[in-house]
Symmetry: C2
Subunit: 285 residues, 2 copies
């Protein structure tokens, strides 16, 4: 078992991989989201773990688009509480910071503190953990990343918990090359295109409502080459008679694809323990 | 009349402002989206112009969130065809490029060419036009921006039309401090929160479907402090009996707010002419 994640060692995605698969799991750092998909598609990694949504900043769009492009099945999910730290060279004070290197997602989640410090110039970098490596030796520059990343690169946490709201969770999906039938699967992800007619989306949602199926997420993404037309990504919670639902959806859609059936995960903190201990959440193995 | 836009002179948003308001309009460059909202809220600019959606890369989430936070009304919209150029120092060839400075949105829209050139390292910058200024004097670095920006900063277009699909349009919204009643308004933007119950979103869309109202856009955004709960932003096309619709929505929602009523705009190219000349599109004044 080898799990590809986006970012460098110390990334939140690597933490999520350890929480999801166990501390000893072999991880494979990857430059971009596409590289994670490719490693799984080519069999170089058994699994890929990708952030798909953050409770403060919202959906991570490129991952949605790549799910459709690659057609790799979602076989599990994992939620991690994200606690961001402002990290700087040892001995640096908050007052001496002039520049902040931040992943756009991390910056979005820490918008409040960034706004309270207009004297900081924010530079976007692709990787939270990588940004910590980049600040070494420069006392004017801080990074936003996990305390893991600070330890890994010998840097210091100047302030912990700088996210704008403590209810900050990221949901990750686990990909494999082949779908694994799981009798305990209680979540289904679909994507479909609606017919270009008034009420088309409404009628597709009626397919779920008529059957008492709860929709936990609806995301729209543009269709390339068709301006202002959309694919809709939905997550369905609980048991679903999938063949029957798909047949009903086909009456109102131009395309339907199952992205995965898997077990819904409860939120966990970075240590892997569940803040709400009564919620069942078997991690995918 | 003074129109605030995000970015430096030469930005696509500034082009959109000229297309929308006329070539002679006074424009006010602004560091971030928030600055545009603040300039309008404080009366320092009469209008703000903000990109809200691109037909390839999708919605521009921070603008959605700021619309709700500031409560400034949308008084118009404007669509612009976006033609991206790879820009470098005069005399530079495509082969000598090693690094590319790109706005994350521009990079998303030019994903194909960036993937075809794995030898290019892509650096994210906050501003398309600003990235052109940044490459001056460095022949190994290219930027992605408009031909306008290349001329403005004395740089050269190495390749034009590098967007992954030529059907590349950005839709901009025009903000003002006060709503302007317009009898010809044919588009309505709303935001609402649904009750936390199965089928709640479906029932809100039923309010539109039952009245034959066409939904041209549905966007979900996370509610801060309530993980995995969402606000829904909708655009309604055509005439709407707004008071009656709002009353019907209130039965299924926790909050409803009108973001604006305004005239829908047709797509225009950067010169301001309309590719589809039969589509009426009076720019807001």
């Amino acid at each position: 078992m080898r799990v590809a994640f986006q970012g460098e060692h110390g990334a939140y995605s690597e933490r999520a991989a350890r929480v999801c698969f166990g501390e000893g799991v072999e991880t494979s750092p990857s430059l971009g989201f596409r590289d994670v998909f490719e490693k799984v598609a080519k069999g170089r990694c058994s699994h890929g773990l990708l952030p798909i949504e953050n409770s403060l900043a919202g959906s991570i769009h490129p991952v949605y688009d790549l799910l459709l492009e690659f057609g790799l099945p979602i076989v599990g999910e994992c939620q991690l509480q994200i606690i961001h730290c402002l990290i700087a060279n040892p001995g640096t004070s908050l007052e001496s910071v002039r520049r902040v290197y931040a992943h756009p997602q991390a910056a979005a989640q820490c918008e409040r503190i960034l706004r309270e410090h207009p004297e900081w110039t924010v530079f976007q970098v692709y990787d939270t953990a990588g940004s910590v490596r980049m600040i070494r030796g420069n006392p004017e520059v801080a990074a936003i990343a996990s305390s893991d990343a600070a330890s890994l690169y010998g840097m210091e946490v100047v302030r912990e918990g700088i996210e704008s709201d403590p209810q900050n969770y990221t949901r990750f999906v686990v990909l494999a090359r082949e779908a694994i039938p799981d009798a305990a699967a209680d979540k289904t992800s679909l994507v479909y295109g609606t017919q270009n007619a008034p009420g088309a989306l409404y009628r597709t949602l009626g397919v779920f409502a008529d059957r008492g199926i709860n929709l936990t997420k609806l995301e729209s993404r543009p269709i390339q080459g068709k301006p202002w037309e959309y694919y809709f990504y939905v997550d369905l919670s609980g048991p679903v008679e999938l063949d029957e639902v798909i047949a009903a959806l086909r009456e109102h859609t131009t395309m339907v694809r199952v992205l995965g059936r898997y077990r819904a995960a409860a939120a966990r903190d970075a240590s892997g323990s569940k803040p709400e201990s009564d919620t069942p959440s078997p991690p995918p193995k």
